[in-house]
């Protein structure tokens, strides 16, 4: 015992000044790394601003007009809404390959309930939304309760939902004109507000409001913190009092619900209800999420970043098209951005070491 006391006495007489690390100067690179660790949407925001600037300089008025810039918003609205759903799932360290399929099935349900069964449009929309949420619930149940890997679950659901969509719709399209005449509510998100040359569709406005809402929920509510904790380390989350299963199921259900809204917005965007539309929704939404700096390993990133990621893709697509470049250049550059984004993510993670 006396021995014990001795070595501790030595420690007790040490200076007790606080925050000794504070004075120590970090290099600029380290500071950037720390800043990115705190605000992971900064990279996509900078890339977005830079790409708008570059295309604006190259193309002038043609690109840098209210019309062209709001056109980008319209073109990314579907991917942006799906990306919001995808972000939630990826934050929990999952992935949802079925977002596009759920979107299309929900839009088909809305269309068929109105036209095949002659139900009031409001009811048809509600049915579509319920359908999307239910698909999300199945995903969530299989992931959270049956503990199957999200990749496999949603790969299966993607096929199942898509096949259901084709079987149920008999692969028939409901034409835009019919919808406009008989069920205009289905095209609600296609409505526009024009301010000068700028044209805002309801769908684009909805996308922005949805992202702002989710950013609030993720940052400011307990549920939001739990989503991050589950993605970060599910075991630690469970031990520190998070209901992991319930959180996961709610995330997948919310994802399905948002996909159904994307389906509604899709009708507004293309005018018709088409079972063959939106096939690339899953890949495009994952692209937006990754370029937006959300980590595929879960628990890191912000949904604002996803919006910037979607807009970056939109800016590149439109800018390169206006420049008359081959569309393949867009894909090539987006591929580069994806790999760069993941590299940055890995680098930011090293901040702790």
């Amino acid at each position: 015992m006396s021995e014990t006391q001795d070595y501790e006495k030595a420690a007790a007489s040490s200076p007790s000044s606080v925050a000794v690390f504070a004075a120590h100067d970090q290099g600029a690179v380290k500071r950037i790394q720390h800043a990115l660790h705190q605000t992971p949407w900064m990279v996509p925001a900078i890339v977005l601003a830079a790409s708008i600037l570059v295309f604006g300089l190259l193309l002038g008025e043609k690109f840098f007009s209210p019309f062209a810039l709001t056109l980008i918003l319209q073109q990314v609205q579907i991917v942006g809404i799906l990306g919001a759903a995808q972000s939630l799932v990826i934050l929990t360290a999952g992935i949802d390959l079925s977002v596009g399929a759920i979107m299309v099935l929900s839009s088909v349900v809305m269309g068929l309930f109105s036209f095949r069964y002659g139900l009031p449009t409001e009811l048809a929309v509600a049915a579509g939304i319920a359908c999307g949420t239910f698909c999300g619930f199945i995903n969530g149940f299989l992931v959270a309760v049956m503990r199957l890997p999200p990749f496999i679950v949603t790969l299966g659901m993607w096929q199942i939902v898509l096949a259901t969509n084709f079987l149920y719709s008999a692969n028939e399209t409901i034409r835009a004109q019919e919808i406009a005449e008989q069920a205009p509510l289905l095209q609600f998100f296609g409505n526009k507000i024009a301010i000068g040359g700028a044209i805002f569709t309801y769908g684009a406005i909805f996308m922005v409001l949805l992202v702002l809402f989710l950013a609030y929920v993720l940052r400011q509510t307990a549920w939001g913190r739990h989503v991050y904790a589950v993605g970060d380390d599910p075991e630690a989350a469970e031990l520190s009092g998070v209901q992991v299963k319930r959180t996961l199921i709610s995330v997948y259900m919310l994802s399905g619900l948002i996909c159904a809204f994307a389906g509604w917005a899709l009708i507004g965007r293309i005018g018709s209800v088409s079972p063959t539309s939106g096939q690339l929704g899953n890949i495009e939404s994952i692209t937006a999420v990754v370029i937006g700096g959300i980590s595929l390993f879960g628990g890191r990133g912000s949904i604002m970043g996803m919006l910037f990621g979607a807009l970056i893709v939109g800016v590149f697509s439109l800018g390169l098209r206006l420049l008359g470049a081959d569309a393949q250049w867009t894909y090539l550059l987006i591929g580069v951005l994806i790999i760069a984004a993941v590299t940055v993510d890995q680098w930011i993670r090293k901040v702790s070491v």
């Binding site: 015992m1 925050a19 690390f21 660790h37 970060d232 031990l239």
Partner: protein
């Protein structure tokens, strides 16, 4: 005196490994009970069964005389049992404050909190800062810094502060000083005694015999998944305790009461 926490015949198997082999356990009000045992003896499994993190295959647990069945760590926590797990159970990417209040977040008063569900970040931050200050952990610069940017010892300090701040009936510490420096270990030992003086009993798992013999009122010796004996640190030496726990020496015949 009745034990505040009592367990009988706890069994937990992992495949063919028997982590708990009809294990008994007693914790009395206001005491510091140390649990010692070899690596893999089943100490962590025992306290997990008590805290709700693990559901035992069979056996019963009573808290304050009433039988309890916890299905999740949250159940144990609601019953007033707060635990520092050996793995610390922290979300690395989240802040110190987020981690301290995980699953028991404070919401803003009024409309913002009740309808908009908005968290009261300010209140949580000042509470977290106060608790870390009490533990002398203010080499932490920023209460909003991510836990993964803390050193291992700082992380352990945060976990201990969290348990001490919220435990109301029982506090369980699974090797709370394993990663701590000399000075920090001393603070944790002081904190343990401080918590006891508030009347809250503590279960302390540790491999550090000087620490165990300094603070413990009784020592539960765990061996091969069960309680081998309970000894009074005043009656035995550290070498005796180590000999019991490793099987080098037969345990005292009579189990020790309170």
């Amino acid at each position: 005196m009745q034990p505040i926490l009592k367990a009988r015949d706890l069994v937990k198997r992992y495949g063919r490994v028997v982590a708990l082999d009809s294990c008994d356990f007693d914790l009395y009000p206001g005491e510091i009970l140390a649990v010692i045992g070899d690596n893999g003896a089943g100490k962590s499994t025992l306290i997990k069964a008590i805290s709700g993190a693990v559901t035992p295959d069979s056996g019963k647990i009573w808290l304050e005389g009433r039988e309890v069945r916890f299905h999740s760590p949250l159940d144990g926590r609601h019953a007033g049992i707060e635990t520092v797990y050996q793995t610390l159970a922290m979300s690395p990417a989240l802040s110190i404050t987020d981690n301290m209040f995980m699953g028991r977040e404070l919401r803003k008063p009024g409309f913002l909190g009740s309808v908009l569900r908005q968290l009261d970040h300010k209140a949580m931050e000042s509470f977290a800062r106060e608790k870390l200050n009490e533990l002398g952990l203010m080499t932490i610069q920023n209460i909003n810094q991510a836990v993964e940017t803390l050193s291992g010892g700082q992380r352990q300090g945060v976990a201990v502060a969290r348990a001490a701040a919220f435990g109301s009936k029982v506090i369980i510490l699974d090797e709370p000083t394993a990663a701590l420096g000399v000075k920090e270990s001393r603070r944790v030992l002081e904190l343990i005694q401080d918590v006891r003086s508030r009347g809250i009993p503590i279960i302390l798992i540790s491999h550090n015999m000087p620490h165990v013999f300094e603070v413990a009122d009784r020592i539960h010796v765990h061996r091969l998944g069960r309680r081998l004996c309970v000894i009074n640190p005043k009656d035995y030496t550290m070498s005796d305790a180590v000999a019991f726990m490793t099987g080098a020496k037969e345990p005292p015949p009579e189990p020790l009461a309170a």
